[in-house]
């Protein structure tokens, strides 16, 4: 082996090929020229392949290309040596090179066999093109059928791509848009400013809506302006930074907003009208009541004068006059009732924090002297945010009702409060005769006393006032009662006051 290596370039053991056999010049040079030719070509081919492999970065199985290079290079060298042997019989070098060539060739074979199954899966160029076209078609369809106008601009503000919706929105053909400055789609008054904004944006591109807090407008080919909403997306491409703008025409959205606003305005106007007419009604009640009271007082006074001035009046006349005076008093009470009822809507309220128990106790102090009925406060009483006068008026009305209806002997009135979710429920309960279910709604209406007409005590406004007051402050009032089982009047006070505030 050592001998082989040391004699690698020794030519003394063999004759040169020219001298081995009877070569004619034609036969010899046919071999020599063909071998040189082959060698030359086999040298060139690896360079071309290597160049291709280097340039084509994402080539599948790139190592195989290098094996091809080596294999072809080796083959070429074999041919070179074959030519040289005509003069210099370097058969040992030739052997080594042939061995190398065989090794590289087999390596290539193995490599090829190994990748063959995968390679078979690779799409052919034509097929790849079809796939590519499909993908491109899909993307184009998406782009074209997008409901937004999409506009791609480069950093000089030149339009490089638009979709169909953009054409629809702005009324231009895309050939009129591509290559034009984006500012052509803006109303003239915004163009200069936009150029500045655009340059700033390219300095610091972010995905964001455009023109935060400002109203944006586009302008159509025919010069008509329309309100738009624009989203901006920076895109890095091989040809530099670009921005994809997504444009939506918001004319309709603004229109529906306007309509909503308009209907809210109308609602507000209606509410205002209702408030006004309620106010007017209350004022009307006030004025009418006073105007009605004056003649009533005149009738009352004059009947007194007659009674005083007439010495000889028949018993019957005297009685009739007294009945008349009774009716006058009743009418006066009714008018007072209307006045009081209308006053609920007229007086100013002030909502403050109060403890409910002391307020109830004050009302009890005022009412107790006139009654032998026992009043009990049951359980705890909450703090309330309410108008003090209104609360006492409600309690006063319910309590005096309860005292009126509780039995004169053994009468008991119980007042209690209950915490219920978003409100407090107060209850005033008597052990009187109770109220039949079919009267439960009626008793809260004005002048719907269940007592006889001539009962001067009962004007039929107490519960109506309670209802008006409670509802004014966002609560409810109801009665829980069966005939013969007493009555419990309940009302709610919201924990968060919602009542109307006047003044």
């Amino acid at each position: 082996m050592l001998e082989f290596i040391s004699k690698l370039f020794d030519t003394s053991d063999y004759p040169a090929r020219w001298h081995c056999g009877n070569w004619t010049a034609f036969e010899g040079w046919l071999h020599i020229i063909s071998d040189f030719g082959t060698w030359g070509a086999y040298m060139a081919i690896p360079f071309v392949i290597a160049y291709y492999a280097l340039k084509k970065k994402e080539l599948p199985y790139s190592n195989l290309y290098w094996l091809f290079c080596a294999f072809i290079f080796c083959c070429g060298t074999v041919h070179l040596v074959e030519a040289i042997i005509f003069w210099h019989p370097v058969y040992r070098v030739s052997g080594v090179i042939k061995f190398l060539t065989a090794s590289v060739s087999w390596a290539t074979v193995f490599a090829l066999v190994r990748i063959l199954p995968n390679a078979l899966e690779l799409p052919g160029l034509a097929q790849a093109n079809v796939e590519l076209r499909k993908t491109e078609q899909l993307l184009r369809t998406v782009l074209e059928s997008a409901p937004n106008g999409l506009i791609l601009i480069n950093q000089w503000g030149t339009i490089s791509l638009v979709n169909r919706e953009t054409e629809n929105l702005f009324g231009y053909d895309r050939k009129d848009l591509i290559g034009q400055p984006i500012e052509m789609l803006l109303p003239a008054r915004f163009r200069e400013g936009h150029q500045r904004f655009r340059e700033e944006y390219f300095q610091n591109p972010l995905t964001r809506p455009m023109g935060a807090g400002r109203d944006l407008y586009g302008v159509r080919k025919d010069g008509e302006e329309f309100p738009v909403e624009i989203g901006l997306n920076p895109i890095e491409t091989e040809t530099g930074k670009m921005v994809l703008g997504s444009v939506v025409d918001i004319t309709e959205r603004i229109g529906s907003l306007e309509r909503e606003r308009e209907s809210a305005r109308q609602q507000e106007a209606l509410n205002e009208d209702l408030r006004k007419s309620n106010d007017e009604l209350d004022n009307f009640c006030y004025i009418v009541s006073h105007d009605l009271k004056a003649p009533l007082r005149a009738i009352s006074s004059l009947s007194s004068f007659v009674l005083e001035d007439t010495d000889s009046m028949s018993q019957e006349n005297r009685e009739n006059l007294e009945i008349m005076r009774g009716r006058v008093r009743r009418m006066n009470n009714l008018i007072d009732g209307i006045l009081e009822y209308s006053r609920v809507g007229r007086v100013e309220t002030s909502i403050k924090d109060h403890q409910s128990r002391p307020l109830i106790e004050e009302v009890m102090e005022d009412l107790r002297p006139s009654s032998g009925v026992e009043i009990r406060l049951i359980g705890d009483f909450p703090g309330i945010r309410y108008d003090e006068t209104a609360f006492q008026q409600i309690v006063q009305n319910l309590l005096s009702n309860a005292l009126k209806h509780a039995p004169k002997v053994g009468g008991i009135v119980e007042i209690s409060a209950e915490d219920r979710d978003r409100s407090h429920v107060f209850s005033v309960k008597d052990n009187g005769p109770g109220i039949s279910k079919n009267h439960h709604d009626r008793i809260f209406r004005i002048f719907q006393s269940l007592k006889p007409r001539d009962d001067e005590e009962s004007t039929g406004v107490g519960l109506a006032i309670v209802k008006k007051l409670v509802e004014r402050f966002g609560g409810e009032v109801w009665v829980e009662s069966e005939e013969g089982e007493g009555a419990a009047f309940c009302f709610t006070i919201p924990k968060e006051p919602v009542g109307s505030h006047r003044g």
Binding site: K293, A294, L296, R297, A298, S300, S301, F305, V328
Partner: protein, 142 residues
Amino acid sequence: METEFEVLLIEDDMVDVLGFTRALRKSSDPVNLHVVAHGEEAFHFLQKKEGRGLPNLIVLDLNMPIMGGLEFLGTLKSDPALRQIPVVVMTTSSERKDIERSYDLGAAGYMVKPLDHEEFVTKVKRLHDYWKSCEKPDFKIV
């Protein structure tokens, strides 16, 4: 010489005037009563009286034509010559805002006209007794 107690009643309702007169008649001392129908007429009366002693008391209705009670009260109390005459409001209204407004303008008292004449008599008597017991105001022009 004791001067007679002099009252100016400003009232447009004839029956109320009658009632007031009757009520006064029932009170102990004779009272010199002048009646006018509204504020403007009252000022005419007061202008004529100036220098010859002004009324001891004005009883004033609120709801009247031409010049209402509150307007009269405001004008009277801003007149340095007349503002010392005590004014008692006597009206149908029991509205809190009317009561407050009257006192704000300088009323010395506020009386809601009762329905019953008997009650009316009691009230007027009390009013009369009270003002008789007060020292007669000094009407010098300031």
